[in-house]
Amino acid sequence: MMGNLAAWKKGVIDGIPIGLGYLSVSFSFGIIAATAGLHIIEAVMMSATNFTSAGQFAGVTLIASSALLMEMALTQFIINSRYFLMSAALSQKMDPKTSMVHRIIMAFGITDEVFGVSVAVKGKLNPYYTYGVMSVALPGWTLGTFLGAYSGDLLPPSIVSALSIALYGMLLAVILPPAKGNNILSALIIISMVGSWLFSQVPYLQNISSGVKIILLTFIIAGIAAALFPVKGEARNG
Protein backbone atom coordinates (compact mmCIF):
# COMPACT_ATOMS: atom_id res chain seq x y z
CA MET A 1 0.00 0.00 0.00
CA MET A 2 1.46 3.37 -0.95
CA GLY A 3 1.52 6.56 1.13
CA ASN A 4 -1.72 8.46 1.57
CA LEU A 5 -0.72 11.43 -0.57
CA ALA A 6 0.60 9.25 -3.38
CA ALA A 7 -2.57 7.15 -3.23
CA TRP A 8 -4.72 10.28 -3.35
CA LYS A 9 -2.83 11.62 -6.37
CA LYS A 10 -3.15 8.29 -8.18
CA GLY A 11 -6.88 8.42 -7.43
CA VAL A 12 -7.16 11.95 -8.83
CA ILE A 13 -5.50 10.84 -12.08
CA ASP A 14 -7.77 7.81 -12.45
CA GLY A 15 -10.68 10.07 -11.49
CA ILE A 16 -10.17 12.45 -14.43
CA PRO A 17 -11.74 10.23 -17.14
CA ILE A 18 -14.51 9.40 -14.67
CA GLY A 19 -15.09 13.08 -13.97
CA LEU A 20 -15.21 13.89 -17.69
CA GLY A 21 -17.58 11.02 -18.36
CA TYR A 22 -19.77 12.10 -15.45
CA LEU A 23 -19.79 15.64 -16.78
CA SER A 24 -21.48 14.51 -19.98
CA VAL A 25 -23.90 12.06 -18.34
CA SER A 26 -24.93 14.52 -15.64
CA PHE A 27 -25.22 17.22 -18.31
CA SER A 28 -27.95 15.09 -19.91
CA PHE A 29 -29.38 14.49 -16.46
CA GLY A 30 -29.50 18.23 -15.77
CA ILE A 31 -31.41 18.84 -19.00
CA ILE A 32 -33.92 16.10 -18.19
CA ALA A 33 -34.34 17.29 -14.60
CA ALA A 34 -35.03 20.84 -15.77
CA THR A 35 -37.44 19.60 -18.43
CA ALA A 36 -39.26 17.57 -15.76
CA GLY A 37 -39.79 20.77 -13.80
CA LEU A 38 -37.06 20.62 -11.17
CA HIS A 39 -35.41 23.86 -10.11
CA ILE A 40 -31.66 24.11 -10.87
CA ILE A 41 -30.85 24.01 -7.15
CA GLU A 42 -33.01 20.92 -6.68
CA ALA A 43 -31.31 19.13 -9.58
CA VAL A 44 -27.85 20.03 -8.26
CA MET A 45 -28.81 18.99 -4.73
CA MET A 46 -30.03 15.65 -6.04
CA SER A 47 -26.70 15.01 -7.75
CA ALA A 48 -24.66 16.16 -4.76
CA THR A 49 -26.56 13.94 -2.31
CA ASN A 50 -27.31 10.88 -4.47
CA PHE A 51 -24.28 10.59 -6.75
CA THR A 52 -25.83 7.91 -8.96
CA SER A 53 -27.12 8.02 -12.52
CA ALA A 54 -29.90 5.47 -13.07
CA GLY A 55 -31.43 6.16 -9.65
CA GLN A 56 -31.58 9.88 -10.30
CA PHE A 57 -33.12 9.52 -13.76
CA ALA A 58 -35.81 7.31 -12.25
CA GLY A 59 -36.16 9.71 -9.31
CA VAL A 60 -36.88 12.67 -11.57
CA THR A 61 -39.54 10.69 -13.41
CA LEU A 62 -41.17 9.71 -10.12
CA ILE A 63 -41.10 13.29 -8.80
CA ALA A 64 -42.66 14.54 -12.03
CA SER A 65 -45.49 12.02 -11.62
CA SER A 66 -45.94 12.85 -7.90
CA ALA A 67 -45.27 9.26 -6.85
CA LEU A 68 -45.64 8.07 -3.27
CA LEU A 69 -42.54 8.36 -1.07
CA MET A 70 -42.73 4.61 -0.50
CA GLU A 71 -42.65 4.06 -4.25
CA MET A 72 -39.60 6.29 -4.47
CA ALA A 73 -37.82 4.37 -1.71
CA LEU A 74 -38.58 1.01 -3.31
CA THR A 75 -37.47 2.13 -6.78
CA GLN A 76 -34.18 3.48 -5.44
CA PHE A 77 -33.64 0.27 -3.51
CA ILE A 78 -34.14 -1.89 -6.61
CA ILE A 79 -32.11 0.25 -8.99
CA ASN A 80 -29.24 0.78 -6.58
CA SER A 81 -29.10 -2.61 -4.88
CA ARG A 82 -26.01 -3.45 -6.96
CA TYR A 83 -24.10 -1.03 -4.70
CA PHE A 84 -24.78 -3.47 -1.88
CA LEU A 85 -22.70 -6.12 -3.63
CA MET A 86 -20.04 -3.59 -4.59
CA SER A 87 -19.79 -2.38 -1.01
CA ALA A 88 -19.47 -5.99 0.19
CA ALA A 89 -16.71 -6.63 -2.36
CA LEU A 90 -14.89 -3.47 -1.26
CA SER A 91 -15.12 -4.56 2.40
CA GLN A 92 -12.84 -7.45 1.44
CA LYS A 93 -10.51 -5.24 -0.58
CA MET A 94 -9.70 -3.06 2.43
CA ASP A 95 -7.42 -3.68 5.34
CA PRO A 96 -9.76 -5.04 8.07
CA LYS A 97 -8.26 -2.42 10.41
CA THR A 98 -9.54 0.46 8.23
CA SER A 99 -11.35 2.85 10.60
CA MET A 100 -15.11 3.38 10.74
CA VAL A 101 -14.71 7.02 9.65
CA HIS A 102 -13.00 5.96 6.43
CA ARG A 103 -15.71 3.40 5.76
CA ILE A 104 -18.47 5.97 6.33
CA ILE A 105 -16.91 8.49 3.94
CA MET A 106 -15.92 5.94 1.29
CA ALA A 107 -19.39 4.41 1.24
CA PHE A 108 -20.82 7.64 -0.16
CA GLY A 109 -18.53 7.41 -3.18
CA ILE A 110 -19.47 3.90 -4.30
CA THR A 111 -20.63 4.40 -7.86
CA ASP A 112 -20.08 1.84 -10.61
CA GLU A 113 -16.95 3.60 -11.84
CA VAL A 114 -15.42 4.61 -8.48
CA PHE A 115 -15.99 1.05 -7.31
CA GLY A 116 -14.48 -0.32 -10.53
CA VAL A 117 -11.17 1.51 -10.19
CA SER A 118 -11.03 1.02 -6.40
CA VAL A 119 -11.49 -2.74 -6.57
CA ALA A 120 -8.87 -2.94 -9.34
CA VAL A 121 -5.92 -1.45 -7.38
CA LYS A 122 -3.08 -3.79 -6.57
CA GLY A 123 -3.15 -5.25 -3.07
CA LYS A 124 -5.23 -3.71 -0.29
CA LEU A 125 -7.20 -0.54 -0.97
CA ASN A 126 -6.00 2.69 0.64
CA PRO A 127 -9.11 4.84 1.32
CA TYR A 128 -7.18 7.91 0.13
CA TYR A 129 -7.07 6.44 -3.37
CA THR A 130 -10.88 6.33 -3.42
CA TYR A 131 -11.00 9.87 -1.96
CA GLY A 132 -8.79 11.01 -4.85
CA VAL A 133 -11.18 9.50 -7.37
CA MET A 134 -14.20 10.95 -5.56
CA SER A 135 -12.66 14.41 -5.41
CA VAL A 136 -12.75 14.62 -9.21
CA ALA A 137 -15.82 12.47 -9.90
CA LEU A 138 -18.28 14.16 -7.52
CA PRO A 139 -17.54 17.74 -8.66
CA GLY A 140 -17.79 16.52 -12.28
CA TRP A 141 -21.16 14.95 -11.55
CA THR A 142 -22.51 18.02 -9.75
CA LEU A 143 -21.08 20.59 -12.16
CA GLY A 144 -22.45 18.72 -15.19
CA THR A 145 -25.89 18.68 -13.59
CA PHE A 146 -25.71 22.42 -13.02
CA LEU A 147 -24.59 23.15 -16.58
CA GLY A 148 -27.24 20.88 -18.09
CA ALA A 149 -30.04 22.32 -15.97
CA TYR A 150 -28.82 25.90 -16.50
CA SER A 151 -28.28 25.78 -20.21
CA GLY A 152 -29.15 22.67 -22.17
CA ASP A 153 -27.33 23.78 -25.32
CA LEU A 154 -23.97 24.74 -23.86
CA LEU A 155 -22.13 21.70 -25.22
CA PRO A 156 -22.54 20.68 -28.87
CA PRO A 157 -24.32 17.29 -29.26
CA SER A 158 -21.28 15.75 -31.00
CA ILE A 159 -19.12 16.40 -27.93
CA VAL A 160 -21.79 15.09 -25.55
CA SER A 161 -22.12 11.95 -27.68
CA ALA A 162 -18.35 11.37 -27.77
CA LEU A 163 -17.92 11.96 -24.02
CA SER A 164 -20.80 9.60 -23.23
CA ILE A 165 -18.73 6.56 -24.12
CA ALA A 166 -15.89 7.55 -21.76
CA LEU A 167 -17.39 5.78 -18.74
CA TYR A 168 -17.90 2.54 -20.62
CA GLY A 169 -14.38 2.76 -22.00
CA MET A 170 -12.93 3.05 -18.53
CA LEU A 171 -15.05 0.24 -17.14
CA LEU A 172 -13.61 -1.95 -19.90
CA ALA A 173 -10.12 -0.80 -18.90
CA VAL A 174 -10.93 -2.00 -15.37
CA ILE A 175 -12.26 -5.49 -16.13
CA LEU A 176 -10.26 -6.52 -19.22
CA PRO A 177 -6.56 -6.35 -18.17
CA PRO A 178 -6.94 -8.93 -15.34
CA ALA A 179 -8.83 -11.17 -17.79
CA LYS A 180 -5.85 -11.32 -20.13
CA GLY A 181 -4.44 -14.85 -19.95
CA ASN A 182 -7.15 -15.82 -17.44
CA ASN A 183 -9.63 -18.11 -19.17
CA ILE A 184 -12.14 -18.12 -16.32
CA LEU A 185 -12.39 -14.32 -16.14
CA SER A 186 -12.46 -13.98 -19.93
CA ALA A 187 -15.29 -16.50 -20.23
CA LEU A 188 -17.12 -14.84 -17.34
CA ILE A 189 -16.99 -11.43 -19.00
CA ILE A 190 -18.20 -12.77 -22.35
CA ILE A 191 -21.02 -14.76 -20.72
CA SER A 192 -22.05 -11.68 -18.72
CA MET A 193 -22.21 -9.50 -21.82
CA VAL A 194 -24.13 -12.11 -23.82
CA GLY A 195 -26.51 -12.63 -20.90
CA SER A 196 -27.05 -8.90 -20.62
CA TRP A 197 -27.66 -8.67 -24.36
CA LEU A 198 -30.23 -11.50 -24.15
CA PHE A 199 -32.09 -9.53 -21.49
CA SER A 200 -32.35 -6.65 -23.94
CA GLN A 201 -33.67 -8.85 -26.77
CA VAL A 202 -35.88 -11.63 -25.39
CA PRO A 203 -39.58 -10.80 -24.86
CA TYR A 204 -40.59 -10.65 -21.15
CA LEU A 205 -36.92 -10.39 -20.11
CA GLN A 206 -36.92 -7.02 -21.91
CA ASN A 207 -39.45 -5.67 -19.42
CA ILE A 208 -37.17 -6.24 -16.45
CA SER A 209 -35.64 -3.00 -15.20
CA SER A 210 -31.89 -2.61 -15.59
CA GLY A 211 -31.34 -2.57 -11.82
CA VAL A 212 -33.05 -5.94 -11.41
CA LYS A 213 -31.27 -7.33 -14.46
CA ILE A 214 -27.83 -6.42 -13.05
CA ILE A 215 -28.58 -8.02 -9.68
CA LEU A 216 -30.12 -11.16 -11.20
CA LEU A 217 -27.28 -11.78 -13.64
CA THR A 218 -24.63 -11.04 -10.99
CA PHE A 219 -26.13 -13.54 -8.54
CA ILE A 220 -26.56 -16.21 -11.21
CA ILE A 221 -23.25 -15.88 -13.08
CA ALA A 222 -20.94 -14.99 -10.16
CA GLY A 223 -22.81 -17.53 -8.01
CA ILE A 224 -22.22 -20.38 -10.47
CA ALA A 225 -18.62 -19.30 -11.13
CA ALA A 226 -17.88 -19.27 -7.39
CA ALA A 227 -19.20 -22.82 -7.07
CA LEU A 228 -17.35 -24.16 -10.12
CA PHE A 229 -14.10 -22.18 -9.76
CA PRO A 230 -13.51 -21.33 -6.11
CA VAL A 231 -10.74 -18.78 -5.58
CA LYS A 232 -8.20 -19.98 -3.05
CA GLY A 233 -6.18 -17.89 -0.64
CA GLU A 234 -4.87 -14.42 -1.25
CA ALA A 235 -3.25 -15.19 -4.59
CA ARG A 236 -5.96 -13.54 -6.65
CA ASN A 237 -6.68 -10.71 -4.29
CA GLY A 238 -4.78 -8.13 -6.30
Partner: protein, 100 residues
Amino acid sequence: MDRVYLYLLVMAVVTYLIRLLPLTLIRKEIKNTYIKSFLYYVPYVTLAVMVFPAILDSTASPISGLIGFLIAVIFAYSGASLFNVALIACLSVFIVERFI
Protein backbone atom coordinates in the same frame (compact mmCIF):
# COMPACT_ATOMS: atom_id res chain seq x y z
CA MET B 1 -40.88 22.97 -3.28
CA ASP B 2 -40.69 21.29 0.14
CA ARG B 3 -42.16 18.12 -1.32
CA VAL B 4 -39.25 17.84 -3.76
CA TYR B 5 -36.75 18.00 -0.91
CA LEU B 6 -38.64 15.23 0.85
CA TYR B 7 -38.18 13.08 -2.25
CA LEU B 8 -34.49 14.00 -2.37
CA LEU B 9 -34.09 13.01 1.27
CA VAL B 10 -35.72 9.61 0.76
CA MET B 11 -33.60 8.95 -2.33
CA ALA B 12 -30.35 9.98 -0.67
CA VAL B 13 -30.98 7.99 2.52
CA VAL B 14 -31.98 4.76 0.74
CA THR B 15 -29.05 4.97 -1.67
CA TYR B 16 -26.52 5.79 1.04
CA LEU B 17 -27.67 2.98 3.34
CA ILE B 18 -27.23 0.44 0.54
CA ARG B 19 -23.66 1.67 0.09
CA LEU B 20 -22.92 1.99 3.80
CA LEU B 21 -24.17 -1.23 5.40
CA PRO B 22 -21.87 -3.88 3.89
CA LEU B 23 -18.78 -1.68 4.19
CA THR B 24 -19.36 -0.95 7.88
CA LEU B 25 -20.86 -4.28 8.95
CA ILE B 26 -18.37 -6.60 7.24
CA ARG B 27 -15.17 -5.56 8.99
CA LYS B 28 -13.35 -8.87 8.96
CA GLU B 29 -11.93 -10.87 6.16
CA ILE B 30 -14.51 -13.41 5.03
CA LYS B 31 -13.12 -16.96 5.41
CA ASN B 32 -15.88 -18.82 3.57
CA THR B 33 -14.40 -19.80 0.20
CA TYR B 34 -17.71 -19.66 -1.64
CA ILE B 35 -18.65 -16.14 -0.49
CA LYS B 36 -15.07 -15.00 -1.02
CA SER B 37 -15.04 -16.34 -4.57
CA PHE B 38 -18.48 -14.89 -5.25
CA LEU B 39 -17.35 -11.42 -4.16
CA TYR B 40 -14.17 -11.81 -6.21
CA TYR B 41 -16.23 -12.45 -9.35
CA VAL B 42 -18.85 -9.73 -8.66
CA PRO B 43 -17.03 -6.76 -10.24
CA TYR B 44 -16.32 -8.59 -13.49
CA VAL B 45 -19.89 -9.79 -13.93
CA THR B 46 -21.63 -6.62 -12.74
CA LEU B 47 -19.51 -4.24 -14.79
CA ALA B 48 -19.60 -6.44 -17.92
CA VAL B 49 -23.41 -6.63 -17.68
CA MET B 50 -23.58 -2.86 -17.35
CA VAL B 51 -21.26 -2.13 -20.28
CA PHE B 52 -22.88 -4.31 -22.90
CA PRO B 53 -25.18 -3.70 -24.72
CA ALA B 54 -25.76 -0.32 -23.01
CA ILE B 55 -22.59 1.07 -24.61
CA LEU B 56 -24.28 0.81 -28.02
CA ASP B 57 -27.02 3.21 -26.90
CA SER B 58 -24.68 5.65 -25.16
CA THR B 59 -23.64 7.54 -28.29
CA ALA B 60 -25.60 9.25 -31.06
CA SER B 61 -25.67 6.10 -33.21
CA PRO B 62 -25.22 2.36 -32.51
CA ILE B 63 -22.47 2.23 -35.17
CA SER B 64 -20.25 4.77 -33.44
CA GLY B 65 -21.04 3.02 -30.14
CA LEU B 66 -20.02 -0.35 -31.57
CA ILE B 67 -16.78 0.99 -33.04
CA GLY B 68 -15.98 2.81 -29.81
CA PHE B 69 -16.65 -0.43 -27.92
CA LEU B 70 -14.37 -2.54 -30.16
CA ILE B 71 -11.56 0.00 -30.02
CA ALA B 72 -11.87 0.29 -26.23
CA VAL B 73 -11.76 -3.52 -25.93
CA ILE B 74 -8.60 -3.75 -28.04
CA PHE B 75 -6.78 -0.99 -26.16
CA ALA B 76 -7.95 -2.12 -22.70
CA TYR B 77 -6.92 -5.69 -23.45
CA SER B 78 -3.49 -4.64 -24.61
CA GLY B 79 -2.98 -2.83 -21.32
CA ALA B 80 -3.55 0.86 -22.16
CA SER B 81 -4.19 3.03 -19.10
CA LEU B 82 -7.67 3.86 -17.91
CA PHE B 83 -7.36 7.43 -19.09
CA ASN B 84 -6.09 6.46 -22.54
CA VAL B 85 -8.78 3.87 -23.11
CA ALA B 86 -11.48 6.40 -22.23
CA LEU B 87 -9.87 9.07 -24.40
CA ILE B 88 -9.38 6.80 -27.43
CA ALA B 89 -12.99 5.58 -27.17
CA CYS B 90 -14.22 9.20 -27.13
CA LEU B 91 -12.03 10.18 -30.07
CA SER B 92 -13.10 7.22 -32.17
CA VAL B 93 -16.76 8.03 -31.55
CA PHE B 94 -16.15 11.67 -32.41
CA ILE B 95 -14.35 10.75 -35.65
CA VAL B 96 -16.82 8.04 -36.72
CA GLU B 97 -19.74 10.43 -36.22
CA ARG B 98 -18.15 12.90 -38.66
CA PHE B 99 -18.62 10.31 -41.41
CA ILE B 100 -22.09 8.91 -40.75
